[in-house]
Symmetry: C2
Amino acid sequence: MREIPGIPYRFKDPDLLTQALSHRSLGRFNNERLEFLGDSILNFVVSARLFELKTTEDEGDLSRLRARVVRGETLAELANGLKLGDYIKLGEGELKSGGYRRKSILADALEALMGAIYLDGGFASCEKVIGHVIAPVMQNLPDAAELKDPKTRLQEYLQGEGLALPEYHLLSDEGPPHRKNFLVQCSSENAGFSVTGEGRSRRKAEQVAAAAALQFILGDTKK
Amino acid sequence: MREIPGIPYRFKDPDLLTQALSHRSLGRFNNERLEFLGDSILNFVVSARLFELKTTEDEGDLSRLRARVVRGETLAELANGLKLGDYIKLGEGELKSGGYRRKSILADALEALMGAIYLDGGFASCEKVIGHVIAPVMQNLPDAAELKDPKTRLQEYLQGEGLALPEYHLLSDEGPPHRKNFLVQCSSENAGFSVTGEGRSRRKAEQVAAAAALQFILGDTKK
């Protein structure tokens, strides 16, 4: 086999394609080193495209957008669209596993494939293929602001309005050490809100409280 | 200015070089977006070189070696060797700061410079420059095994010797919630050791205990 339908690249060395599709459950000849390589070239090509495309976003926005593109969930969806699962070779034990394992196997194989194409055809060929593969995601990027966490968004909103910054107070942390529940209050001196959030960590509870504050202020439903 | 002594690249667009050397303390025209781009190309070029150079290492070893090369401390040393500090432009407030801040400013500027070279001269030029800049580090890479954390090294050593795996027991966690001190015991059924480690988290205490066990078994002094 020298190519996969949907991926516009024909391998000179078919062994590289075979290796990219070989899960570690098969043994020593597997795609893990190729995945290491492919992950880093994917990361770079996505960074370069975002840099070009998003000319006014700061580096924080660029990082959040990149994380959205290269996260396992996105890559698994892309791999699914390419029916990559039909070509991946698994060892006995893995054949039965489903769900999360399967998603990460798909994402890893897609990365390994990009590493194999780089080795087989060089940077320019691989860059083109990556551009083709990620196109569906790049055409539907969310607004960079949406990717910010609620605390950051709340702080930036209040700053922009010239209002007092939010304050977070721990109201209680109850339960045994490994199953604590945190209750946090979030308020602003002159923005006229005081809401609470609950979570399994103080950090999580603060984010939930900030999301509640945004919802209160803006009728905002994004979490 | 179109070039920096020690970096074998002459810019077509001198503004890109100026921007790469402009710290964010100067204002809106700064090197943060270029740093985002440069970080990702550096990461990729280092990954590709390690892949080529270290043909028997697994992806875990490759990741640890890469982390060693691209970490801020290493980049700051390389930037120092290039006297990059003589060319970086800082705003008023930053001029007085030293130590850690200065190190990260140097590392960030080196990354930004690589991003600027990529934009100015393309991938192949940038790849060559990166190869030149990182050469001192690539020629002195540590053994991949040395970069593993003590728990991993202890487990692999015991496995290799056919001995029982280490067990970790929390002996105590004392102090107020935000300043707890953890004491952990590490022992192996038939490897003949029982040592303790202390730390500010359970994880840290386990690593300290594993390092003590390695020292006990091997006279090993690496932490």
